[in-house]
């Protein structure tokens, strides 16, 4: 069974085509890394999968069921969790209120807090603070907490590393690896390949809206440099 399957997906903003006939699967319990240069369409692909952006053509299947047109909040309630690019938090809400927002998918607040604080004890210390005033790393922890606390079946991660110190990135990906071992299917987008290939079961390279190469991480290593250098 595939947790996520994209079949022939094309997508566009207004009249700018961004994705062309994408096929991609995330088998249950696997980690798939999606790599590619800036502007390749990685974030768009995740937005399509999460229901935030309607595809121009093609089908999105979640756990084998076609979900085109299902609104994002419904997908979230069915166990899909996208941690978007940038800081996926509400900056004017406190940390506690941000955690409260995570209960819409049906998890109890006490569970959300418990699961978040085990992984990120720092959040507990900052519970009353306005989220926008947290450090970049803390903000990303808070965003990531939703992926841990709401017990999703499918986790979509968009550039966790953005703007963070390498040591924090490493910490975050260690947690991703732990989550993966618990059996959660993960599709992770990352610009910096080395960090993510260690965790991934499969990887695909997206260049200018097309998947140019897919396979096991070790098979892709040399293609990667080509993709980034645009050769």
């Amino acid at each position: 069974m595939n947790s996520l399957e994209l079949r022939g997906i094309s997508a566009a903003y207004d009249r700018i085509d961004v994705l062309f006939d994408i096929d991609l699967v995330v088998p249950e319990g696997n980690v798939v890394a999606l790599l590619g240069p800036n502007g390749a369409g990685k974030s768009t692909l995740l937005r399509v999968a999460a229901g935030l952006h309607g595809p121009a053509s093609g089908d999105v299947l979640v756990a084998g069921r076609r979900v085109n047109g299902v609104p994002p909040e419904e997908l979230a309630r069915r166990g899909m969790c996208l941690i978007p690019e940038g800081r996926g938090i509400f900056p004017n809400l406190t940390v506690r209120e941000n955690l409260r927002m995570m209960t819409f998918t049906g998890t109890k607040l006490s569970d959300v807090e418990e699961r978040s604080f085990i992984r990120f004890p720092r959040l507990k210390e900052r519970i009353g603070q306005t989220a926008g005033t947290l450090s970049g790393g803390e903000q990303q922890m808070l965003a990531m907490a939703r992926g841990l606390a709401t017990d999703p079946a499918l986790l979509l991660l968009d550039e966790l590393s953005m703007g963070l110190a390498p040591i924090i990135v490493e910490e975050l990906y260690e947690i991703v690896a732990q989550v993966a071992r618990e059996g959660v299917s993960i599709l992770v987008v990352e610009q910096f390949a080395s960090t993510v290939l260690g965790v991934a079961d499969y990887a695909a390279i997206l260049v200018q809206g097309r998947i140019v190469r897919a396979g096991q991480p070790h098979e892709l290593a040399e293609d990667l440099s080509k993709a980034y250098l645009g050769a």
Partner: protein, 723 residues
């Protein structure tokens, strides 16, 4: 001391009401990004409804309150959100504004339809029969005490809902990042609906509390709530605590003005206008609500007018006016003659709003200034007064623009609306003002002033037919001026400024001068329209130039298509020809005809390009089929001759006038394939893709590059060498 306390209580009571209303406004604005101009009108409707239940049908007070505040109010809010506001996502500020302004007009018309104006409807405050509570130094009425108590309860209640209830937290979360709330699994539509339900309920509560003071009168009650808007602006339309603080400041100022402003014929009007004055000042002193750098990709798109089209438009207008002037009776001419001067005022909106994206809700105030100048300097029919009308209105426009320069979008709309209220509630009603005994400033002479017809070469143009033709010719000339501006350098600058002020500033465009000049230009045009309007009315009064009329004209011009001169003609024709005609043909429609302008504006959300755009598209085949066009002109001319020789009457003439273009369009449609191909070859420029899509929809050409350089003013730079 007693007096001070008494008016402190008066001020705090006002503050309480403003706080309640403003918090509702902030709630809806922050969660859905739509500033609801009709918020006050919702409160007005609620007050009327409550009065109906409580005093006409005799329901017990608690029942009437529960039904209005907890059932009808929230339902109405949900209705507004789902039916009207939800469709506005992704439209420009202007369209959003027009829809909510139209809603305001519609609700006022609705209230006047249900509760005929002019009848006294006393609405006593709560527990009005009980003795006031004695506070020692002063007393407080039960209504005042209840009002203040309710406001405190609302403040506490809102705080609890927004910080404790999960759905309340989701409302605040939606302000931060709407799509992220959906990723969290919150239902965004539910959040918006709740915000509108709560917001409308708060408006209703405020309306019921405030109405016993000024009394139940639809228009003034809807606009009186301007003070509440000032409080919301104080909180930058976001912060509820600041909004409450703003309400207290504004309420107290109003209270003390009522208590301590000397009784004086010049200042009575100021008291009435004080909310608007406060709003104006608040807009000016608040830190700049940041430059609008965010690109809102809008659905509207206005093509560049062609020269031939412009001249054709002008000639058609003049010929139409000549036909009307020679066939209509004098009373009809007086009724329908208003189309062209008002059309000129509507034209003044095209460069300002359509090209530059600066919203102004006070164009009829500028027209009023032009009218006053015409009345005083044009005494005896001096045509030079027209020039003065333009210059003085333009100067006032520039003065208004100066403080408005730092405002944009909704803040600019509020500022200009406040200016209009200051004029029509206060300054226009001033008695003769003697400046140090040197000269008198006499606006409407405390009532109405008469206006002399223009006299030229010893001939007085005082018959309505000639006046109509003069106005129509002026309208045509101003339309050509506007089109010339659109096609020239200034027009490109204005459009660029509309797209992105920040980008223009970085390109070195002087925003201040550009804005000032377009404001002055627009006010000057409006002043010219007002001056001609005045000569046609022969006697003018402040009521001819009120905010509500500016709102109507603004809304309907946008409905017609504010980016083109056709939109202005559309607005003037619909408001000052179609509506009176409808009432003539169908007298009983007079009761509900007032609903139409608002209704049309509310429908705008569906078609941001305006109606004229569609009409033009419909007629395109006709314009291309030259032979059919010529035949139609001959047929119209023939009908006109028949009418002049009294072979046919006016009605038959009108029917033919409508019939011929329809037949011609159909005929042209039949011969379409050839005709349209020819048109495509000819008007490459208007049918081409917009500049920003070239290179995407079709490959770049050298001509495009040159055009881009011209747009950006890069002519002198060595761009080509770099390439």
């Amino acid at each position: 001391m007693d007096k001070f306390l008494t008016f402190t209580i008066v001020g705090l009571t006002l503050a309480a009401i403003y706080a309640i209303i403003a918090s509702g406004l902030v709630l809806t604005y922050t969660t859905t990004g739509i500033f609801n101009f009709a918020h006050g009108a919702a409160g007005m409707l609620a007050a009327f409804t409550y009065w109906q239940f409580r005093f006409v049908w005799g329901w017990p007070t608690p029942l009437a309150l529960v039904v209005v505040l907890l059932v009808l109010g929230p339902l109405f809010g949900v209705l507004l959100e789902t039916v009207i506001m939800r469709g506005l996502e992704g439209t420009t500020d202007t369209v959003k504004l027009v829809v909510s302004i139209s809603l305001l007009l519609f609700m006022i018309a609705l209230a006047q339809l249900i509760w005929a104006p002019g009848i006294s409807r006393p609405l006593p405050g709560f527990l009005a029969g009980n003795k006031p509570i004695n506070l020692g130094a002063t007393t407080i009425t039960w209504h005042q005490a209840i009002t203040i108590g309710v406001a405190i309860a609302v403040a506490i209640g809102l705080r609890l809902v927004l910080t404790r209830a999960r759905i309340g937290i989701a409302m605040r979360a939606a302000v931060d990042d709407r799509s992220l709330t959906t990723l969290n699994g919150a239902k965004p539509n539910l959040v918006s609906m709740l915000a509108w339900a709560m917001g409308t309920s708060l408006a209703a509560l405020g309306g019921i509390l405030i109405a016993p003071g000024p009394g139940l009168e639809a228009a003034s009650l809807s606009l009186l709530i301007v003070s509440a808007y000032a409080a919301a602006v104080f909180g930058r339309l976001r912060s509820l605590p600041l909004t409450f603080l703003g309400a207290i400041v504004i309420g107290l100022v109003e209270g003390y003005l009522a208590g301590y402003l000397p009784q004086n014929q010049y200042l009575t009007g100021m008291r009435i206008a004080s909310p608007a004055i406060i709003l104006f000042i608040v807009l000016l002193v608040l830190p700049n609500p940041r430059l609008r750098g965010r690109m809102t990709r809008s659905r509207e798109y206005f093509p560049t007018p062609t020269l031939a089209g412009a001249i054709g438009f002008a000639i058609t207008v003049v010929i139409g006016a000549v036909m009307l002037a020679t066939t209509l009776s004098d009373p009809d001419l007086i009724t329908y003659g208003r189309v062209f001067p008002i059309g000129i005022v509507a034209l003044s909106l095209v460069p300002l709003v359509g090209f530059a994206g600066q919203i102004s809700l006070c164009q009829l105030s500028f027209a009023g200034i032009g009218a006053i100048v015409m009345a005083h300097l044009g005494a005896g029919g001096d045509p030079i007064a027209l020039v003065w009308a333009v210059l003085i209105a333009a100067a006032v426009g520039a003065v208004v623009a100066l403080p408005a320069l730092r405002l944009s979008g909704i803040y600019l709309a509020l500022g200009t609306a406040a200016f209009a209220v200051i004029l029509d509630r206060w300054l226009f009603n001033l008695p003769v003002l003697s400046v140090f005994g040197l000269f008198d400033i006499n606006l409407f002479a405390n009532g109405s002033v008469s206006v002399d017809a223009i006299e030229l070469f010893g001939r007085s143009f005082d018959d309505p037919g000639t006046q109509m033709i003069i106005s129509a010719v002026t309208f045509a000339l101003v339309a050509l001026l506007v089109i010339w501006i659109r096609r020239g350098r200034l027009g490109r600058r204005l459009l660029a400024m509309k797209d992105s002020e920040a980008a223009c500033a970085t390109l070195g465009l002087n925003l201040i001068w550009t804005k000032l000049s377009v404001f002055a230009l627009s006010a000057g045009i409006a002043g010219l329209g007002g001056a001609l309007y005045a000569t046609q009315l022969t006697s003018i009064q402040p009521g001819n130039f009120e905010l509500v009329q500016s709102l109507q004209l603004f809304a309907i011009t946008v409905v017609g298509g504010i980016g083109a001169v056709g939109g202005a003609l559309f607005a003037a024709l619909s408001l000052y020809a179609f509506l009176p005609l409808l009432v003539t043909l169908w007298p009983s429609s007079v009761r509900w005809v007032g609903l139409l302008p608002g209704g049309a504006g509310i429908g705008l959300g569906r078609n941001p390009n305006g109606a004229v755009h569609d009409v033009r598209e419909g007629f395109l085949p006709l314009l291309a089929a030259r032979a059919v066009l010529a035949a139609m002109c001959v047929a119209v001319a023939g009908a006109y001759v028949l009418r002049l020789t009294n072979v046919i009457d006016n009605w038959a003439f009108v029917v033919l006038l409508i019939l011929f273009p329809v037949i011609a369009t159909i005929a042209a449609g039949l011969s379409k394939p050839r005709a349209v191909e020819a048109a495509a070859g000819n008007d490459e420029e208007i049918r081409d893709v917009p500049l920003e899509w070239r290179g995407i929809d079709r490959p770049w050409t050298k001509a495009d590059l040159e055009q881009l350089d011209r747009y950006l003013g890069l002519k002198e730079m060595e761009l080509h060498d770099v390439r």
